[in-house]
């Protein structure tokens, strides 16, 4: 039971906003679509929910073809990036509204019970008499979420619900979303976000969209640890993955990738796979460190271009032999710009990508 999307294409002004997308979402999943804006995640949600019709392809809910059913005829709920509530209704009326028009006739008492439960769950129980315009942004979005869960729907679509909130509220609501949707017994949650952190912390499944195509779809951990192309790798990392070009060379009978005189990576175990002369190497920022310890064994010289503190870590923007590198170092270090430092690289954390089509060929580590 769940949603099946079969070869769906959706055109927008002649261009494919969704290009031959196929996937399956099972009941109980929290499925996240990750993409930069304009790459089709909202379109995919709209098509799956039935707000837009696909130009090609089919959508199945629980094995039933719903491609031609309107959104009214489907049992779904949706939360948007903008805070969408009925402006003239109170918070209470807003939450009750999906119940009032639903096919299952509920008594006044049942509606009241459900409304209060939902409001308490979203921590807006004390605001029931107010109007949406009197609420803060975070409270308005809580109200919109309460409206989406009050009716027992099979599928809930969340279209960037955290994007318009400031940092603190986003963190807070993200945690709560996790709690709320873990309690749900039925259906699935489909979530669209441009934030890799949301995708990692909330979802069981992650789909990565690029220019309307579903590049990779799978278990969240799996997608994170095996980004199948440079696009996925670069986007589904925070900070972005370092990707640079390297040349194949042999030293002492073993096969190496050479990015610079210092940055040489042993890839002898993939000898048979590597038939081309040049490849792209990818390494996440936490594969680089400023102290030599444990796995960080390969020293290289780099120039500090910028250093910024992110939370309790330091993000170092470096320059090494003509290409940029980003290192995420623990602790709040102070670094002087334009000085040369030694950076230690973990040589067992590399992804090897095809230089021409960006496909993942191999990685130097197992998870």
């Amino acid at each position: 039971m769940g949603i099946i999307v079969e070869n769906v294409t959706r055109l927008f002004e002649g261009k494919a906003a969704l290009d031959d997308v196929s996937l399956e979402i099972k009941d109980g999943d929290f499925c996240t679509f990750l993409a930069a804006s304009g790459h089709g995640k909202t379109t995919l949600l709209r098509v799956m929910a039935g707000i837009d019709k696909p130009d090609k392809g089919k959508i199945y809910y629980d094995g039933k073809d719903v491609t031609n059913l309107t959104v009214r005829e489907r049992n779904i709920a949706m939360v948007y990036q903008h805070f969408v509530n009925y402006p003239s209704m109170t918070v209470y009326e807003n939450i009750a509204s999906p119940l009032r028009v639903s096919k299952a006739k509920l008594t006044k008492g049942e509606i009241d019970k459900r409304v209060r439960e939902c409001a308490d769950l979203l921590k807006i129980g004390t605001l029931l008499g107010q109007h949406p315009s009197e609420l803060s942004g975070g409270q308005q979005q809580r109200l919109a979420i309460a409206r989406s869960i009050v009716k027992e729907t099979d599928y809930i679509f969340l279209d960037e619900p955290l994007t318009n909130l400031d940092y603190k509220l986003r963190e807070e609501l993200r945690l709560e979303l996790k709690k709320i949707f873990r309690r749900r017994q039925r259906g699935a949650v489909i979530f669209a976000t441009p934030e890799p952190v949301d995708a990692l912390s909330l979802s069981t499944y992650v789909g990565f969209l690029h220019e309307g195509r579903l590049i990779q779809y799978g278990l969240a951990d799996d997608v994170y640890h095996n980004p199948c192309s440079t696009e996925v790798g670069a986007y589904f990392s925070y900070p972005a993955m370092n990707i640079f070009e390297c040349r194949k060379m042999t030293r002492d009978g073993r096969l190496f990738f050479k990015a610079s005189d210092e940055l040489m990576i042993d890839v002898d175990e993939f000898r048979d796979l590597l038939i081309k002369d040049r490849y792209l190497l990818g390494i996440r920022a936490h594969g680089l460190n400023t102290v030599e310890s444990g796995v960080y064994t390969l020293p290289i010289q780099a120039t500090v271009e910028l250093s910024e503190v992110v939370g309790s870590d330091t993000e170092l923007h470096l320059h090494h032999h003509g290409f940029p590198l980003i290192a995420l170092v623990q602790g709040m270090g102070t670094y002087t710009i334009d000085t040369d430092i030694t950076v230690y690289v973990n040589p067992r954390r590399f992804f090897v990508y095809d230089k021409d089509d960006g496909r993942l060929i191999a990685k130097t580590h197992q998870d």
Partner: protein, 286 residues
């Protein structure tokens, strides 16, 4: 130097004073005196006002004026919203529609009056002809009160509904599509969607539309004057024309009192509308 600020504001204050305050004070001054052409004005206290509010002609004009404005608003506001909702939301046709709708707004009151006068001339004008050929009804603006009143009514609807359309349209295109999607997902009917999404979202522009249309219709002058001179009888004489008529006959004290009463009525009505509209749907805070 806190006082220096006044120096910068002074030109504006002067302009506003000359523009609004001085004329109003002059009128108030008139309203408190008996004034006849050729003789010195004589202080009258509030007698002019008492006379105004006991004058059946004034009260008649006021009643007609309220009825007229009420009917005009009752038709123009819903009709304007309805037309605005039928307009295309995007594409090249938008410009065409808006320009076509805007044309009546560009025609001056007097020209509109003249156009409709020509169209309603007995047995010659097109409206008059249509009535006699199609309905076998002799349509006489200058003789039949019903014809005269309805002519002014439809003239105003034709002339000013586009303003409501343009304002509503601006409000409508500003409503994000997600609100309609949310209503559809909830399974709301077309009426409920209109009632709980469109109307509340249009409130701000509707306040403006309502106030503009009320003030403007309450001051109608040129059209009934040109079409039938306010007749037949007093049937098409509204407040503006009534006050003007008094001033033209040099009853300046009386006309002044009537003007101030007129202004007061407009301001109070606008205030009431505004208060009602801004609080509508806000509910009582628990």
């Amino acid at each position: 130097m806190k006082n220096r600020a006044w120096l910068f504001v002074a030109p504006v204050l002067l302009l506003v004073a000359l523009n609004a305050l001085v004329p109003i004070m002059a009128v108030i001054n008139y309203s408190l005196h008996y004034s006849f052409a050729g003789s010195a004005p004589e202080f009258a206290g509030l007698n002019n006002y008492i006379e105004v509010f006991t004058d059946p002609d004034f009260l008649g004009a006021l009643r007609r004026q309220f009825l007229f404005s009420f009917c005009v608003l009752l038709v123009q506001i819903p009709l304007g919203i309805l037309i605005a909702m039928q307009l295309p939301k995007s594409g090249k046709s938008v410009v065409v529609c808006l320009v076509l709708l805007g044309i009546p707004l560009l025609i001056p009151h007097t020209v509109v009056g003249l156009l409709w006068r020509i169209m309603t001339v007995y047995e010659v004008g097109i409206i008059s002809k249509i009535f006699s050929y199609v309905f076998d009804y002799s349509y006489r603006v200058t003789q039949n009160p019903v014809d005269a009143v309805l002519t002014i009514f439809f003239l105003d609807v034709w002339h000013w509904t586009p303003l409501v359309v343009l304002l509503s349209y601006a409000g409508l295109v500003a409503i994000p599509d997600q609100f309609y999607q949310a209503a559809a997902i909830d399974g709301a009917s077309a009426w409920k969607t209109f009632r709980y999404v469109t109307l509340p979202k249009l409130r701000a522009v509707l306040i403006i539309a309502l106030l503009l249309r009320f003030m403007d219709s309450f001051m109608i002058y040129a059209e009934p004057f040109i079409i039938s001179g306010g007749g037949p009888g007093n049937w098409n004489t509204y407040l503006n024309q009534y006050v003007a008529r008094k001033a033209e006959s040099y009853e300046l004290g009386y006309a002044g009192a009537a003007s101030i009463a007129y202004l007061y009525i407009v301001v109070v009505c606008c205030f009431i509308f505004y208060t009602i509209m801004t609080n509508l749907g806000k509910g009582i805070k628990r």
